[in-house]
Symmetry: D2
Subunit: 497 residues, 4 copies
């Protein structure tokens, strides 16, 4: 239930390179468009696509807009965007910015040609990087970390020219100056660079675009038959562009995509040999359940969270249920683990009305009831445990329990498949201020009462980590670790804020 | 899976009368707006609201538009629509009509003042009614049955004036001239007439608007405290407007809503004492699961369909699943009945892209894959039975089975929680032509093979009827019956087409 | 200066028939589009086009919209409207009607097929016609006279069928029931009927569409080479559609346009042998100066008005000028007649801003100054006479004189090339209420002082009539007469209001 | 007739400072809005407004958009833009840029706070300035000279900090690096800097905002009563914002506007004591006739051009006329000088239709005829001289002469009130390529024949200069000079292109 309460992902990035030359079987702009549709859950404020024919002096074709991917790109625009490679971006709605100057990808002209940059994440040392650029005399126009990265890429420190047109060198320099958090796709000439910060805080993965023959039939695909390569924040969109999951971009890795294929060109070290720190909430809430991180499907992890929760916090009830729909895998697993029937208690109205400045008390009282229709037969006289994935501000939980009570629930127990959120995130997630977090407002032992629930229990931090990490193969060279800063207050790096 | 394959509901109607006078606690236009949001699944092409202060010469305030309810009504429009009563309508997308002349409610001036009419249904004798009006010299501008009803209401037969300003008399006259199918809300002066055809083919029900105090707290509400009354195609929207289910409008009944309350003013007889004939597909597919028809919740009926299907067509598999999300209750019940685990095999992308005139074969091949992400762990190596609520043209089932096979399903069985659709509907449902229906194209014994499934079975007509009717209280005076014409070809009345 | 002060034309009508069959050299929808652009000054609220292939059962193609012609019709719409004949309409902004139900042409289905109707004018006996239809039991949905006409055309009086499919008979019947004011174009099957009321109150004329060869070169055109025929409210648009002026539709005449050519089929008599009564303000203000009425160009008539004004009301000044731009021909002629130089005193800003609810007194004071930039050299120290075509409410004249005074004008005299407007119009012109008319608010001898002018004189009614009528050939059979009701209060017919 | 043939102004700039603090009588955003409406003729592609409360850390309020000023700014936006000072910009449509990233004013954050910049002009040494910035490592995102200026302002050369927060110093540095052409308004903290390049190539002038009492009545205004100060590309908009013309910003001058008033802070020298070089086409065509440059009204200069043309190229005809409407003052003066009557031969349709990809030859042939209705009485049998302000590509002149011939003109002579355009402009004017200019395509002695005219003569360069310069007071310290490069090929500076 994080969605409606302020826990918001910052962005999705996508890139695509065709192995052939236009016109080809692979329609690059269309593929990026479908990729962004598949990443829409990571950002709904705005979106953009930049493509290029990939020659030295190719003009970049740019289309950006406010709103949903569907509303921005129409057939004629996609036709105009034709090219041999390109990158795209979806952005979350943070402020009601009235113009498109903040919409990514950013394109700038540099001494060595055009570059386009799309970024997911938030730089923890943005402040000092910004001061550095301002001192250098660069005027900044958007106030975004992504513009910082773009200008830093073109930046020539101390008026020298240490890297010239060597873009990999320039990327390495940035990675040494800022370590968290960013997943980047950068387009220059005929190449896309996929860059993931040393901590791997935000996800990024690679896929190969199969030829039409491959997904029409079922035969194996020869490597030389590939139509192209994609890079994406999540693998969930691979199915919808005709791509097969290839592998993750590793923490700190720089991968070069071109028509020759993908090539790992660098792996940046982490300071002090600290473990990686992928955001654990990608598993808990942000990612689509059919995405794959660290070799495991998110859906599977959510089921493990539900099973773990059942072990840590069982309850004797008639029915296990959930608030549709992100906590369903956890709820199904919780039910199975305890051998209690799973049933639906709410029907979610897919068409939710505009939130008006409600004209009177009557309609204000209705609140969340607009969204959920109760399934009486599963509520009346029943002892219910409601599984949710997380609680942020707790504002929707109150009317939901009230709705169940009004429909005659005998008992209402709450079980949350993640620990209490208590601390701010400085790495790309839009969390309400610390004071607004319900876990900081109400003491744990008063919380059940606050929601008018018969009992309430969260998953432990250890339980969550166990659920996530038990599925990760513990390679010798690859350590396991996740960022749980919003739960524990222990940040992977010192925050320069 | 009827939704994406052409089985479409025609409309939703809604009406609201305040017990007090403006300004009151009850915001009539806002209430209708929220009611239409709750009926949005019954029609997404266009919507309209008409309100009135309810005095003899009150001007009607009208706002109609193309598209979704949310896109049409903004706060300022709702403020302009203020009134003491009003009606609304949502309409299904049939043709790409480029203007709003077909959008309901229709408002006409008559010799006896203004009337507004909203209609759900389709008249089986529209042709002869139309000829009658044309012969009378009325020019018809929209080609809709709803305009026919509106003009018939104002019509003065044989140039006489048998009913004058007696609108109940006029409604009775129409009910004697056309018996199926219509659920109407008609506004005139300070009254709304709720009218359901003698066969009760389309649903219509009443609700009372509780005062804010009632849903804030939990106390019982005094009858005199009511804020108003609503009439709606379905009860699912009552929760979101702060209304409590009161009762159904009976087949053939005319109910008058005014600030004095609701009053049954007439019950039209059915010819030859035939049984009622509510559309059984309202239970199977169209209605929202939290709506109540004939004393039972639709969700409950769908679960009974699943249970009945398990009895009629069991199968030995590892996992019971469904294509999200309308068949979920049937699938859960099917699984429970057979004691087989229920699990999700698809993650549905909520953000589906525009359907372009696909530029090349590659993207055309992707098809339905854009919408569904497979949950591998529930598919790989598993024997799966997929429950769906209905099959219409069968076009999406093919790629869905292919997707399961591609992910490594060991067996794929299909079970459909309703019988094969074989015949056209003339009573308000947009069904593809008979030739397009898969049940008419492929013989039953070839169908599993056609979908590349290991087996396929439908629920029987008797099984469906039993699942629906076993929950209806068999009152002495109230006979039980449903329209199953699209399954059997036996229509409740002779079709004048 | 009538434009900005509330004297508004009601509508423009246009029709077009191709002599060939689609596909032909003549693009019918494009021709109507260009025709409506040329009639845009007669109505800017909304516009519509209806076309047909012209066969017995041809579907009508309809496109209507709110706003300017340019904003409504785009290339793809015009392509969809392809047909062999069609009619169009532009409508004036009267009320801020929020939907398109009032937009013409109206299309209705009748017992004898489809008809489309476009109307310019206003029926003086609308009230009794409406009562007749309502009594007959027709529900009326738009409140417009044009819907009345459409329903009257389909109407079968006393339930008999006196005319059946005989549309000319039906048109004659309407002309006997209502005599003023209407210019109609009616489409049915392969014909367009052009109908002008017996008084000829609103203009209507015919043109022949020359083949491309004709306006490419200069050669004479063979009659058989014509591409088609057009009918239009004004001839000013003929040039822009490649048509040559043919003749006026006479008062009371019904002309049938088809691919065979034009045919006069009826001339309705005027009651009591009264003279015709074309609206004299079509000459004074409404029409475009390059239109032709009664054998004379409007520009010429306006020059005669200026000359007559110079004779009736000369003044000794340094410069003759005008408020741009409708009074320019009158001003040029006034100057020439008196031998005084003509010069411009105002530069009109073509881009006028939105009228906001002005936030403070400062900006409210600016008023008309936003529109006009003074040309100082023609003002400073000069004695000026300002010629205007008419004064309605007089609100803009005050700041205009103030502007001239502020720029140092020595004397400011006002001469109006038409008499004072004192009475309402019931025949299609939107005039402010009688109380708002400046000629009724301030006595004639106080008016100069009211405007802070040194003198003010209007053209006399006789002078105006003389200026208009001296150019009309006085045929034996054709009497001369014009409606000057708004000036004298003497209406051509009794007003049933 | 330059307008429709490709001679396009690049931009308009506007700035406003209130003397009081918000809330005040002066509504700053509204004033800028009205100012931009008055500068709309200088750019119709896009517009923007930036305002500030003027405190050290005031957030800048920004609203930009594509299209006309009227379409971009609505009342609610202007309310949000409230501030004590602000600047605005209108931009000409050059390319069909699909997003707003090029829309000015530009706002950037610098080490010393926010600055906003609006620019009219084009830098002749843009290329080397750009290289300099790129070498410094600044990524450029818009490809506009205006972004160059903005980044140069924030630039710290050689990594030193020669000017720090001293913005006047920074402006001086820019003026030493680029001398033509720019008129700038720059906002920082509580000040607006108005900057005109040393050659004064683009206009810029100052006005004082009178209190409401001043333009309500007529009394003189005390200096202390001023509501504020404005700076604008042209004075024509002063009337519409309640401002009185104060003076021009001199070539090379930097003026500081603040609530304390206006202060001249610097005058940059011109290299080698060359004369100033204001674009002479501002007089000929671009500027609105009621604007004042160099102490004279543009209208007056255009009349002098007409008079000079009459002296240089008289012709014996019956009527002097013009193509509406920019050449009217020249035509009136030409007529007066020769004692030949002036008359109108064309009525211009204010509502011109969309230019479609014309579907067939017939409509393509119509061309310019759509725009102009001939006034026959002034054409038929007449010897006509048509005065136009300029000819660029000559494409519209052909159909215009044909139209006159078709209406029966006996002779058609052409006189152009400016010399032939033969060379490109590198200083802010969008001129077609040299090859497209008619003066380069057809030899002078063949041109009359090419247009099918009886004779054709242009004003001489000397004649034009005389007409412009005779009205400029020749102060001792202020030399007179204008840029006539597009006529002679002699540019005021060497072009680095």
């Amino acid at each position: 239930m994080a969605e409606s309460t302020g826990l918001n992902e910052a962005c999705g990035v996508f890139g695509c390179v065709a192995t052939g030359n236009w016109p080809t079987d692979l329609d690059v702009p269309h593929t990026i468009y479908l990729g962004l549709i598949g990443l829409q859950h990571r950002g709904q404020e705005s979106a953009g696509i930049v493509t290029s024919m990939g020659n030295k002096n190719s003009r970049y074709k740019i289309k950006k807009g406010m709103g949903m991917v569907n509303g921005i790109f129409h057939e004629e625009e996609l036709l105009k965007l034709r090219g041999n490679l390109g990158i795209g971006h979806t952005r979350y709605s943070t402020l009601g910015a009235s113009d498109t100057s903040n919409v990514q990808p950013f394109v700038v002209e540099t001494l060595h040609g055009l570059i386009a940059v799309a970024h997911n994440g938030e730089l923890t040392n943005a402040k000092s990087l910004k001061t550095k650029l301002l001192k250098h005399g660069v005027g900044l126009s958007t106030g975004t970390d992504s513009e910082l990265i773009t200008q830093l890429l073109t930046h020539t420190p101390e008026c020298g020219e240490p890297h010239g047109a060597n873009w990999i060198g320039r990327i390495k320099r940035i990675m040494s100056e800022t370590v968290i958090s960013y997943s980047l796709v950068i387009m220059h000439d005929d190449k896309i660079y996929a860059v993931r910060d040393p901590y791997g805080n935000r996800p990024l993965c690679l896929g190969k675009l199969l030829p039409a023959t491959a997904f029409a039939g079922k035969k194996e695909v020869d490597k030389d038959d590939l139509d192209g390569w994609v890079v994406s924040s999540e693998s969930c969109c691979f199915n919808s562009v005709g791509a097969r999951y290839y592998r993750e971009v590793l923490p700190g890795e720089v991968v070069e995509l071109s028509k020759e294929g993908v090539k790992s060109v660098y792996i940046a070290p982490r300071p002090n040999d600290t473990p990686p720190a992928m955001c654990i909430f990608e598993y808990v809430y942000f990612a689509r359940p059919d995405s794959i991180f660290e070799g495991q499907m998110v859906y599977t992890v959510r089921q493990r969270c539900g099973r773990q929760l059942a072990k840590e916090a069982p309850v004797d009830v008639d029915i296990v249920s959930t608030v549709p729909e992100s906590a369903t895998p956890a709820a199904l697993a919780y039910a199975k683990q305890l051998g209690i029937p799973y049933g639906e208690v709410f029907c979610k109205n897919r068409y939710v009305g505009r939130t008006f400045i409600q004209p009177n008390m009557r309609l204000r009282q209705l609140g969340v009831a607009k969204k959920f229709g109760p399934i009486s037969e599963n509520i009346k006289g029943k002892r219910i445990v409601l599984i949710d994935d997380s609680i942020v501000r707790g504002v929707t939980m109150i009317p939901i329990v009230k709705l169940l009570r009004a429909e005659g629930a005998k008992e209402v127990h709450l079980r949350i498949a993640s620990p209490p959120i208590k601390h701010p995130c400085y790495m790309g997630i839009n969390i309400p201020t610390t004071q607004e977090l319900i876990a900081n407002k109400i003491s744990m032992d008063k919380l059940a009462e606050y929601f008018d629930a018969d009992s309430l229990q969260y998953l432990t931090v250890e339980g969550l980590k166990h659920a996530v990490q038990q599925g990760i193969k513990d390679d010798e060279n690859d350590r396991v670790g996740h960022c749980v800063a919003c739960l524990t207050g222990q940040y992977p790096v010192k925050i320069d804020w």
